[in-house]
């Protein structure tokens, strides 16, 4: 049982480049989330999805885009990378609203 799988684990981007962070879960969870975690700042919600075809903004969506074409996958797209997007990105899922999250192991992104 793989849980939530994130790829890549590490990435260095140059300013202005684009990339997609991949997230896949095999638990048939409806709810999926993208967070970024900066030192001392906790987890900030970027985007979330309550099911295939449905996405919504979190508190820090600027500079990011998402799509949810299947229950399993929830990729996060960074367009025109900026140094402010240097962070650790976590994908999470949960079965329903009243359950805890299962997190992936994270993607550590550096923009130079």
């Amino acid at each position: 049982n793989a849980g939530v799988t994130q790829t890549p684990k590490f990435r260095i981007l140059k300013i202005g480049q684009s990339m997609t962070l991949q997230c896949t879960q095999d638990m048939n969870h409806n709810y999926m989330y993208w967070y970024r975690q900066d030192p001392g700042m906790g987890l900030k919600l970027i985007y979330y999805s309550v099911g295939a075809g449905i996405t919504d903004k979190g508190e820090v969506p600027n500079g990011y885009n998402v799509s949810r074409s299947t229950t399993e996958d929830f990729p996060l797209r960074l367009e025109l990378a900026a140094p402010s997007q240097t962070s650790v990105y976590f994908c999470a899922s949960r079965r329903d609203r009243d359950y805890g999250y299962t997190f992936g192991s994270g993607t550590r992104l550096t923009v130079v």
Binding site: V4, Y31, Y33, G40, M41, G42, L43, L45, Y48, V50, D56, G58, F90, A92, R97, D98, G100, Y101, T102, F103, G104, S105, G106, R108
Partner: protein, 111 residues
Amino acid sequence: QKEVEQDPGPLSVPEGAIVSLNCTYSNSAFQYFMWYRQYSRKGPELLMYTYSSGNKEDGRFTAQVDKSSKYISLFIRDSQPSDSATYLCSISNFGNEKLTFGTGTRLTIIP
């Protein structure tokens, strides 16, 4: 005012000590409470889940909720070096699509 406040630490205690980690929250409508443990360079993992005032025990861990004071705590008994991690509290309402997280407390258990 932030919805959830958590002392970031760092907190260092000797092995075997009792550890107390705390969060306060502002919205009395919050109904359930979680604690996550995050080891360095790993994703958070769910440690404890409770939705009522009082105590919930799981091995060496006890989650305590005081809804009247809007205060939640996690106690770790007989602390071990393997407990060294960042602990995040999380709160929500039933039916809410999103969880609210504290900033996390970094804990180090000294052998």
